[in-house]
Symmetry: C2
Subunit: 202 residues, 2 copies
DNA sequence: CACGTTCTGCATCGATCGGTACAAAAATGG
DNA sequence: CCATTTTTGTACCGATCGATGCAGAACGTG
């Protein structure tokens, strides 16, 4: 009953939580989990540490929510790519999406899922493990899509979906590192086009 | 004349600087520049912070020297690979060397040149820039080797050395991320074999 | 109005960060 | 022996780390 969303009791928030999370995402993206201090984060978010802790829990939870936002925003190209009609078009769309996302003229270079926490100290271990799981999920979804492509007759019977998924993810992670090093979009796209010419790698 | 190396005046060192640097390298490799604290480093090196600073300068210099040691040790496969007689054998050796180095049963997974400092805060910016230069060097050496392969008639006239070098480095960086995620050596090698079957990417 | 609830600003917490001051220890040269 | 040079252990530096205590402000409700 009722009108659905009711205004909660108590003092209302003085900031937009979505907007603040977006700012935090950008900081994590650029500096990595360990490199992003609470001072960096709260300054970019425009709120105090108190407000951040009240709204998001702690730094680790904030990172987790930023990663979710990343999956549904900059990294949403993956879900769309998996709906392409053929395995080759799926692979092409994934790689192109990765290049576009990691080399946006505005925003950080690289991929949050890679550079967010690749090698860390003890304090970043949870974030690192989270990203390992995140990357593993992407791999599994791509592999499953390629399995379906064999059932569809789109990929030949002899094709290896796991190997092809490993190849596509390896390309995207490599692209993420190149982008973080400042390599430009056009050069990466030419390389990616060539890399998929041998599809499905015989 | 003298006997060459003369024992210097003053109290002699109580530790083996080479051995200590090797230990520091392993810590940086596993935790990254920012994730490796002085306490982590000196404990692994078996010396006090005072001795570390006297022998190596500071944390940044220690990282620089660890990277040099990495280039001449775990990453030495690159120089050997560049001496292979054909471009395909060069590419094959580079990728195989990267897989072996990033998935050693003993020692950290992944590549120091990638995960040592990919995205950092202000304190890690110098290390990050150093690794960008390091990776850029590797790319240039590979590209130059492929240029020579065209002169040798080993690669066809129409081949693009820069594109091929970008492809090989992208594969190795992607492999480094996969290895850091715990993907096993055999799976990566199968993928790499397939990835080079289309060489020179037409 | 008072009340309960939630959020905010300020001050601060103990722990850890990278880095050093200082004097004793251990070597060489006279 | 003494003087010089270099390394070592101890103790410590100010800054920053992630995180919190607390009082008051800002809302809906009765």
């Amino acid at each position: 009953m009722g009108t659905g969303q009711r205004r909660p009791t108590g003092r209302p928030r003085g900031f937009d939580a979505d907007e603040a999370l977006e700012r935090a995402l950008l900081v994590f993206w650029e500096r990595g989990y360990e490199g992003a201090s609470l001072a960096n984060l709260t300054e970019a978010m425009g709120i105090s540490t108190t407000s951040m802790y009240a709204a998001f829990g702690n730094k680790e939870e904030l990172f987790r929510k930023a990663l979710e936002r990343y999956s549904e925003g900059p990294s949403a190209y993956l879900a769309r790519a998996l709906e392409e009609p053929t395995a080759l078009r799926v692979a092409t769309a994934i790689v192109a999406g990765a290049i576009r996302t990691t080399t946006r003229p505005t925003g950080p270079n690289g991929c949050l899922g890679v550079q967010g926490a690749l090698a860390t100290g003890d304090s970043g271990r949870a974030a690192r493990d989270l990203l390992i799981t995140w990357r593993g999920n992407d791999y599994s979804r791509i592999r499953d899509r390629f399995r379906r492509a064999i059932d569809d007759g789109d990929l030949p019977e002899g094709a290896d979906p796991a190997l092809l998924a490993r190849y596509v993810t390896t390309l995207t992670y490599g692209i993420a590192v190149q982008a973080a090093s400042g390599v430009h979009r056009d050069e990466l796209q030419e390389m990616a086009d060539a890399a998929l010419r041998g599809w499905p790698l015989r």
